[in-house]
């Protein structure tokens, strides 16, 4: 049995490593074809990050991790929650609006605001969930539409409630009071900037994801429904309710994506709002195979690529958008590789089982037991 586990672990690692190599090769090909300096690009990308950058990488990874976990919850149910972008926009706005009012003191403010962001994200996702369960609309298209609608609605609401940030033309919600602004932790030696305090939120979410899905009855029901809806129905799961619950849970988790940024960096919702984390979350969830540890590594990798790419313009004269290509190729390669290793794994296991059963049969006949 341990042999099987080792083999399975190796196969799982082989895929992402293979994907990275393929991405490396193909990107280099693209660069060569376009006449861009291949060496400089890779030197920049693979250079050791300075402590300040390490902090940025970790901070970026925290946010991406939350996004990927939200997507992964959907994936476990065979649902594609592409609406993470819209959900965390709505969540961040609602939380920023509330926290800015400072009706509650210090940390309580933060806590309630976080809850509000989850509620807002969950509500936004529930629209797509309702449409899927009761009207048969594919959640892929509905969540994408809701993303665009969220952008419009939140912009409009922002115009109604916004205040001008002092000293600029930018607008945003009211800035959080000092007592609700989180300083962060100095975890990286030598760095002048700090790790977001809400790192603990990410850790907590990851733990809950692992625990709820793997150890609870609800998690079993959820995974069963994702694996085989018909078997789940026969086993007593109410599928419609499960779909609604998981979509809403995914949306609630998505709402959290903006929280580290809100409380650790921006302190309001406004033009500094960072969008696009939802799509990255999808890529990271796929890369990390919906596994809480795998996603953590994938998030770090993604964030690493993003951060390193910032230097591309200056140091290699190449547009930083190259990193999207790298990420896209990694994604494709890893998904193809996972498919291949999955099939290989199944075939190997079936052969192994056949072998072991034959051995058992032989052992039994040799012991003189009647066939």
């Amino acid at each position: 049995m341990t042999n099987a586990n080792i083999r399975r672990a190796l196969l799982s690692l082989a895929a992402p490593v293979l994907a990275l190599l393929v991405a490396f090769l193909l990107t280099s090909l693209v660069l060569v074809a376009l006449g861009d300096p291949v060496r400089d690009v890779w030197i920049t990308m693979l250079s050791t990050p300075k402590p300040r950058q390490i902090t940025n990488i970790v901070n970026g990874a925290i946010v991406l991790y939350l996004s990927a976990i939200a997507v992964a919850v959907g994936f476990k149910m065979n649902l594609f929650n592409i609406g993470v972008d819209g959900q965390y926009r709505v969540g961040s706005f609602a939380a920023a609006l509330f926290a800015g009012q400072a009706w509650l003191p210090g940390y309580l403010n933060i806590l309630v605001a976080i809850i509000i962001s989850m509620v807002a994200g969950g509500l936004w996702a529930s629209i797509a969930a309702y449409l899927k369960v009761h009207r048969g609309v594919s959640e892929v298209i509905s969540t994408i539409m809701l993303n665009a609608i969220a952008t419009g609605v939140v912009s409009w609401l922002l115009l109604k409630v916004a205040v001008r940030t002092p000293g600029s033309n930018a607008i945003g919600t009211k800035v959080l009071p000092e007592s609700s602004q989180l300083e962060g932790w100095k975890l990286i030696p030598g760095a002048s900037n700090r790790i977001y305090s809400l790192l603990i939120l990410a850790v907590l979410v990851g733990f809950l994801y692992w625990f709820v899905l793997g150890k609870t009855r609800f998690g079993f029901d959820l995974r069963a429904t994702g694996a085989s809806e018909t078997a789940a129905v026969a086993s007593g799961v109410k599928v419609k309710r499960m779909v609604m619950t998981s979509m809403i849970a995914s949306g609630a988790l998505a709402g959290l994506v903006g929280m580290p940024l809100l409380f650790g960096q921006d302190f309001s919702y406004g033009t500094t709002f960072q969008s696009g984390l939802g799509f990255a979350g999808i890529g990271i969830a796929l890369l990390g195979r919906n596994n809480p540890i795998g996603i953590a590594f994938a998030a770090l990798l993604w964030s690493y690529l993003d951060t390193q790419a910032n230097g591309l313009q200056i140091r290699a004269g190449v547009a930083p958008e190259l990193v999207y290509i790298v990420q896209g190729i990694i994604l494709f390669a890893v998904v193809i590789a996972y498919e291949g290793t999955r099939r290989l794994d199944i075939r190997l296991e079936q052969q192994r089982v056949a072998r072991e059963l034959a051995a058992q049969r032989a052992a039994r006949t040799s012991e003189g037991v009647a066939a």
Partner: protein
């Protein structure tokens, strides 16, 4: 074995069907009904831009990229491959068309757009058909990579050109436009008189026949060609069979992989062509984020059209129209609120009659809210108006999804040997 009973039933069915069965009659009736409603709405709300020739022309123009994306989706899904990556293929098309148009002229631009989308289609085809990757995962990945490639290549190639920058291309040469000679001005004067129904008809007609881009005509030709190819040729039969029952097709010697491949390549090329339209006709340059989700709206139009080209055209027209109304301002969006309120009212009453109390009550409540919104405001704020195409898409899908019949094996990951 008598054939008496089946014949009799067939006779009865035929009598009932008669003229309504004729799809052309049905569409004609629908179009005429739509015209009447529009005219009524215009007269009641005074929003003359609802069906002015300008609005119609704009709608027509905006419908084309949606239609092309939708046609791409149709080709792909008819062969059983879900293509969420249309947006990414369209984005690739925007870049490649801009690049080719700038360096080699508008015709090469059109071709270049198709090729750019084709490359995206190739990636999707290899991943899904050859490697058996989940269709939606591949589509989403394609969107990410398409966006990245386009952004990178844009900043790489357009930054140093005069009039260009890292996120946009310099102005591009545009393909020619055509007009039907002679009727433009008389129709315009007729339209300006604002006579119920007649002026509306004149406006619509003028919008459809003036300054129509060549690419639009090519698109229409592609629609006819697609219909003919898919429903009237052996090639099309095989392609559709692959999307309906790949096992049956394979048992009859059809090369399932080949047809899926071709279909996805075609879908990429069409989406790329849609991108070309955006850069060369709808505007005259490439710009980051130009596609604005039209790839997805195209998919919605395809679903709305029940995976048939005719319905797809109608759906694209609808979505293009809402897009145009929004862009032109002029109270159009505001007027639509009234229309929505009325439709919801009718729907609610109909649901109540069928005994669905909760749904009916819900529809009536929403109708009342929308009506109140219409009467309480003069205009719809820009940001909210901007969501009109997306809200329309959602509503259409919400009401239409359950009545439709998609290709039976759509989305199925097919491996040779039938597994």
């Amino acid at each position: 074995m008598s054939t008496a009973t089946p014949t009799r039933r067939a006779e009865v069915k035929e009598k009932q069907a008669s003229w309504l069965a004729n799809p052309y009659a049905r569409w004609g009736l629908l179009a005429f009904g739509g015209l009447v409603i529009l005219s009524l709405l215009r007269v009641v709300t005074g929003a003359n831009d609802l069906d002015s020739s300008g609005a119609i022309a704009a709608a027509f123009g905006l419908a084309v990229p949606i239609a092309l994306a939708g046609l791409g989706g149709l080709w792909s899904e008819r062969a059983g491959v879900v293509n969420i990556g249309l947006e990414g293929m369209m984005i690739l098309g925007t870049w490649s068309s801009a690049f080719c148009a700038y360096h080699y002229g508008p015709w090469m631009g059109i071709l270049g757009g198709a090729i750019g989308g084709l490359v995206g289609g190739l990636i999707h085809a290899i991943a899904t058909v050859y490697f058996g990757v989940d269709h939606i995962v591949s589509g989403v990945a394609l969107n990410i990579i398409g966006l990245g490639i386009a952004k990178y290549l844009a900043s790489r190639f357009f930054t140093n050109l005069p009039g260009g920058g890292p996120t946009q291309s310099p102005p591009l040469p545009q393909p020619p436009s055509l007009s039907v000679p002679g009727i433009g001005d008389p129709l315009l004067s007729l339209e300006r008189q604002h006579i119920f129904l007649i002026s509306d008809f004149a406006g619509i007609l003028r919008g459809l026949t003036t300054n129509v881009s060549v690419l639009t005509l090519i698109t229409l030709a592609l629609f006819v060609a697609s219909w003919w190819a898919l429903w009237k040729t052996a090639f099309g039969l095989r392609l559709r069979s692959v999307g309906e029952s790949p096992a049956a097709a394979e048992s009859l010697g059809v090369n399932v992989y080949k047809y899926k491949f071709i279909a996805v390549l075609a879908s990429g090329a069409l989406a790329g062509l849609g991108g070309a339209f955006l850069t060369l006709v709808a505007s005259n340059l490439f710009r980051d984020g130009q596609t604005g989700g039209r790839g997805y709206i195209g998919l919605a139009a395809m679903i709305f059209g029940n995976w048939r080209p005719g319905g797809l055209l109608a759906g694209s027209a609808l979505f293009g129209y809402t897009d145009a109304i929004r862009l032109r301002g002029g109270g159009g969006v505001h007027a639509i609120l009234l229309l929505v309120a009325v439709i919801l009212l009718l729907v609610g009453l109909w649901q109540l009659r069928k005994g669905r109390m909760l749904q009916g009550a819900g529809s009536l409540v929403v109708s009342a809210l929308v009506a109140w919104w219409f009467f309480a405001t003069d205009t719809v704020p820009g940001e909210l108006a901007g969501t009109l195409p997306y809200v329309t898409t959602l509503l259409v899908l919400a009401f239409a999804s359950q009545r439709l019949r998609m290709p039976a094996a759509d989305g199925q990951i097919y491996r040779k040997g039938g597994h």
